[in-house]
């Protein structure tokens, strides 16, 4: 279980990226963080991954307070971030340093089978397409069997077909160990395809606007009516979240006008 308690992050330049986030993600749940740009989605993910430190509040994984990168937390970045000097095989094995060679080979080969890149094991990352590279990056995060997997818009740079097939690969890998997944996305369809719950965020400062359970049965039929309804619900919530901050300057101006009046 992943818990955020009064989590806030203010950057050195005074930007309030996150303000008082309270959220519980259950074990094996897929939660999708969705929201406009600058609402702190990626910041939240970087805090969980231990790449940045929170300004206030804390993140707990089960009973442990997270401080810094944790072995049970894996992350897939927006870009594949493969190490160009390692073969596909060695890239996937990058986090398996403590294991024996046989165990390593077993796990990596299994992951390669899952992502359908067995025949590419010995190639350089530069020889792969963008979608293939991202698959390798997902496999690299999965082979360490993390309890929590963080996905930072991992499919945003890919075309719609590649994205759909990657969703399948991801769910295939997820089925095996059922880690807790926090998926950052700005694609509502993607959120509804993958997540059990959509958390809609709001910018300036980044905070949670609304939570919507997505209870459709898996595998999800992207063309069915229930899917459409869910997409519409999330879109409506997103719409409200983006409109809300505009109301604020309006109020501010009213108050200033009132001050002048008095």
């Amino acid at each position: 279980m992943l818990t955020f308690e009064h989590l806030s992050k203010t950057y050195a330049d005074g930007t309030r990226a996150l303000s008082d986030i309270n959220l519980t993600v259950h074990e094996g749940e897929i939660v999708s963080l969705i929201g406009g740009s600058g609402c702190g989605k990626t910041t939240l993910l970087r805090l969980i991954a231990g790449l940045d430190r929170e300004s206030a509040g804390r993140i707990r994984l089960d009973d442990e307070v997270l401080s810094g990168p944790h072995p049970a937390v894996g992350i897939v970045f927006q870009e594949p971030r493969l190490l160009p000097w390692l073969s596909v095989f060695d890239n996937i094995a990058f986090g398996l340093d403590g294991l024996s060679a046989t165990e390593k080979k077993l796990r990596v080969t299994h992951a390669l089978e899952k992502i359908g890149l067995v025949e590419h094991a010995d190639r350089w990352p530069r020889d792969l397409s963008g979608g293939q590279q991202q698959r390798v990056s997902i496999a690299r995060a999965f082979v360490t069997n993390p309890k929590v997997l963080l996905l930072d818009e991992p499919f945003s740079a890919l075309d719609a077909f590649t994205r759909a097939s990657l969703h399948e690969h991801l769910l295939g890998l997820w089925e095996e160990t059922r880690p807790t997944v926090v998926l950052v996305t700005h694609d509502v369809q993607e959120a509804v395809t993958l997540a059990d719950r959509a958390v809609v965020m709001q910018p300036k400062p980044g905070r949670i606007f609304d939570e919507l359970p997505l209870t459709l049965s898996r595998p999800r039929d992207r063309t069915g009516l229930p899917f459409e309804t869910s997409v519409r619900r999330v879109l409506t919530a997103l719409d409200h979240s983006l409109k809300a901050p505009q109301a604020q300057p309006q109020r501010e101006r009213d108050r200033q006008a009132a001050a002048l009046w008095w």
Partner: protein
């Protein structure tokens, strides 16, 4: 008749197997096989200008249009080179020069790598070292010569020191710059997998800086050959630089040109060896074409 047809069939099969094998190779590494298969004749274009000029000059001297005393024709230079090679002088001089460059290069590049790595990886070290080194870099290296002679004498030590200085700066700058420009995103991957500082250096920083380190070493080597000439001008009784000075004093332009050609060959060979040695380390690079 049957036999010949059979052999034709097997021949066919062999060629087919060959082509499928080739196809697989092409799939595995499309660029390298293409490069190997098609020889680019335009490479020879580069030879056209020097060969044409050499032939024209040779003809001009042969037909008495020019004297060729101060600018000897190619045949005389080749004869001189041949003569020097025959007596073993060329080998002695070339070896001496090579030895000086090698020792200077090893000292200069090792200290360049160590100090460059320090100032690239730690901000404190950078603030401590870099200003001094940059100030020293501003001094033309030849200006050290009188001091080196006073300190180290007129023999090998002062020459090697000058060459080491010449090699040091490009290597130092290249290594420090390369470390500073390592992609933060790849370093973060290391953080996510909880690598220690040493592991991070070995598994991410070192491989990431290798391509630029090779370039730094190559420019260091180039400068090493530049400074060996200066060092041998300082007074040497052996070395290709000595051949240059001797050729000037004895009025033998063909000897000067022969020494220059020997320098060019030696420098190019050393550079190529460095490139070949480094190639397996930087094979993974995703560049449009091979770097110079």
């Amino acid at each position: 008749m049957t036999l010949s047809r059979e052999s034709a069939v097997t021949g066919n099969a062999v060629s087919q197997a060959w082509s499928s094998h080739e196809g697989a190779a092409a799939l595995a590494a499309p660029t390298s096989t293409e490069k190997r298969r098609v020889f680019d004749w335009r490479i020879l274009l580069g030879f056209f200008l020097p060969v044409a000029i050499a032939l024209l000059w040779e003809a001009a001297v042969t037909f008495g249009l020019a004297e060729g005393r101060l600018v000897p024709p190619p045949s005389r230079i080749i004869a001189m080179l041949w003569g020097l090679a025959q007596t073993g002088e060329l080998r002695t001089h070339a070896w001496m020069t090579l030895w000086r460059v090698l020792v200077g290069f090893v000292i200069g590049s090792l200290s360049g790598i160590v100090l460059g790595a320090l100032s690239g990886s730690s901000k404190t070290m950078r603030q401590l070292l870099d200003p001094t080194l940059q100030a020293l870099r501003a001094i033309p290296s030849i200006a050290w010569v009188p001091l080196f002679i006073l300190w180290l004498g007129i023999f090998e030590a002062s020459k090697v020191a000058l060459i080491a200085i010449g090699v040091f700066f490009p290597v130092y700058l290249g290594i420090a710059g390369a470390i500073l420009s390592v992609d933060r995103k790849l370093v973060e991957v290391g953080h996510v997998f909880r690598l220690s500082r040493v592991q991070l250096a070995r598994r991410i920083l070192l491989p990431a800086v290798l391509p630029e380190a090779v370039i730094a070493l190559r420019s260091g080597l180039g400068l090493g050959f530049m400074f060996v000439v200066a060092a041998e001008f300082m007074g040497a009784s052996e070395g290709l630089g000595y051949l240059l000075v001797d050729g000037q004093q004895m009025g033998k332009p063909d000897q000067i040109l022969a020494a220059i050609i020997a320098f060019a060959l030696l420098g190019k060979t050393a550079d190529s060896l460095l490139v070949v040695a480094a190639k397996p380390l930087v094979r993974w690079q995703d560049t449009v074409r091979e770097r110079l």
